[in-house]
């Protein structure tokens, strides 16, 4: 949420329960200033022009923050949502690129997230580029990655240097663990701060207000994490 800046419109795509939680929490805390659009939930987006409106809206610069993930993410913030191995005969096939081949270019603040922080997911070079982390100057690109949030830490992305920089390590995790489990090189400060945990009030809002709202689209997530909406 600290990564949202002064965003007015945060949008969340498919299979993104944690970003959806952050977006709805931010909306509650903004006192109605922030629009949070969950693409896959008719109840949580204002779109009336069908599935294309999100992309049209983003193309006009009306979406400030979006979230993307990947089966693989590399040190230049290239993301792979397609396959591991040879594209024509893949070893592993992922669902597909969704809107990444467009939104990564046009949304100013794209936050990458990956809940499995390992050398399998954070790799030196992705096998397939669903969307590149940077583009040469002649390519229209107002958007791109600002950060990568994992289950262990937060990286910021420096678009000029095309490199991640370790920003903070989550409570209960260590720098050594991050170094051991990251397949790409990254910069880091001499002293790496700890990621500030959410406040007690934020945790209460997530559990009592946000989770029930998310239960229809992410029943498994809200049941596992917040104990909400468990099937009888």
């Amino acid at each position: 949420m600290r990564l949202f800046g002064d965003a007015r419109h945060v949008a969340v795509g498919a299979q993104s329960p944690i970003p959806a939680t952050a977006a709805l929490l931010a909306r509650h805390l903004s006192g109605g200033r922030l629009y949070a659009s969950l693409l896959t939930s008719p109840a949580h987006n204002f779109f009336t022009d069908g599935g294309r409106e999100l992309f049209d809206c983003a193309g006009q610069g009306r979406i400030d923050v979006f979230f993307l993930s990947g089966g693989q993410i590399d040190g230049e913030a290239n993301i792979n949502l397609v396959a591991i191995g040879d594209y024509a005969k893949p070893k592993v096939r992922f669902p597909g690129s969704f809107g990444s081949g467009y939104l990564y270019y046009v949304v100013p603040r794209v936050i990458l997230f990956r809940t499995e922080h390992s050398r399998r997911t954070l790799v030196p070079k992705v096998d397939f580029v669903s969307a590149p982390g940077w583009s040469p100057p002649e390519v229209y690109r107002p958007g791109g990655p600002v950060a990568l949030v994992t289950n262990r830490c937060v990286f910021a992305f420096d678009r000029m240097r095309r490199r991640f920089r370790l920003e903070s390590v989550h409570p209960g995790h260590t720098l050594e663990e991050v170094l051991d489990n990251t397949g790409f090189e990254f910069d880091r400060p001499e002293r790496v701060p700890e990621t500030p945990p959410p406040s007690a009030e934020d945790r209460r809002l997530m559990r009592e207000v946000v989770a029930p709202e998310l239960a229809t689209i992410y029943p498994k997530f809200t049941a596992d994490v917040f104990g909400v909406g468990k099937a009888a």
Binding site: A14, P42, G50, F55, F98
Partner: protein, 274 residues
């Protein structure tokens, strides 16, 4: 005028083997009862166009051997994980696949709606999606004096649009509310076949409150009643997804043998007496 309201079996019989079919995403309105009828019939060589992504519907058709080709931005079971039959077909090389990104498919459909040959769009440059799409092109923006490459995608003209909606009337007008991607694919497709929860006796175009969310019967070849026809997928404002059933599908479809059991239990027998 031929009656627009048909029996479900007649509607499904109007879909030939080899048809190029546009289907919507799961949050929109998927004609799952009709999809099961296609599987029962043993439909072959379908070319699926997901506008822009799919879940159970594409996975079921692929697993049942009905699909020769799919153009898609993603096929996945959402938080239940990868779509197992799609994944197996791609890694096994048993279907042709055209990987896309969501707005490229919306753009192709929009071009077809306009009668335009192609649509320009941002993004994609430098991606491997573009690298594997010889049918897409990069042009210099003709209105820019500085280098400005843009991707153009051709209009997509599906032969058939197949989807499920809450309401239709006797004229074949179909109310989709704000699910306007259904209207787009109906505009773009040469033939539109729709299953609905119910037929209403009033004219849906007569009242401005419903008309703006209604696909005129002009674009619609036939409608058929299929109560809970999107099950086990959701239908907005009518019913939620059947989460327990989808979890069972995800578990069974993980293996070829389990998938066959799923078909035997839920697809190859009609779900309930009509």
């Amino acid at each position: 005028m031929t009656a627009k309201v048909r029996a479900l079996d007649d509607l499904v019989a109007a879909i030939p083997d080899g048809a190029y079919i546009a289907i919507p995403p799961e949050y929109s309105g998927c004609a799952m009862e009709a999809t099961r009828a296609l599987v029962r019939r043993g439909a072959k060589n379908l070319r699926l166009l997901t506008v822009p992504a799919s879940s159970l519907q594409a996975d079921l058709l692929i697993g049942a051997g009905c699909v020769a080709e799919i153009e898609t931005s993603a096929v996945s079971l959402g938080e239940l994980g990868p779509a197992p039959r799609f994944t197996a077909a791609v890694t096994g090389g048993t279907i042709r696949l055209k990987d896309a990104t969501c707005p490229a498919l919306h753009a192709g459909i929009t071009a077809a709606e306009r009668g335009a040959p192609f649509m320009a769009m941002r993004g994609l440059i430098g991606s491997d999606i573009l690298a594997h799409r010889p049918d897409w092109r990069v042009l210099q923006n003709p209105f820019s004096e500085t280098p400005d490459p843009v991707v153009v995608v051709p209009a997509l003209h599906p032969e058939i649009a197949l989807f499920h909606a809450p309401l239709a009337d006797r004229h074949g007008n179909v109310w989709v509310g704000k699910r306007r991607e259904l209207m787009s694919i109906a505009h773009a497709a040469r033939r539109t076949l729709v299953t609905v929860e119910e037929i209403v006796e009033r004219d849906l175009l007569a009242d401005a409150a419903t008309a703006s969310g209604t696909i005129p019967g002009f674009y619609v070849e036939a409608v058929a009643v299929a109560p809970e026809g999107a099950w086990p997928l959701p239908l907005a404002e009518r019913y939620p997804a059947d989460a327990a059933h989808l979890a069972e599908y995800a578990r069974l479809a993980g293996s070829e043998e389990g998938f066959r059991r799923y078909l035997d239990q839920y697809v190859l027998v009609a779900r309930r007496a009509a």
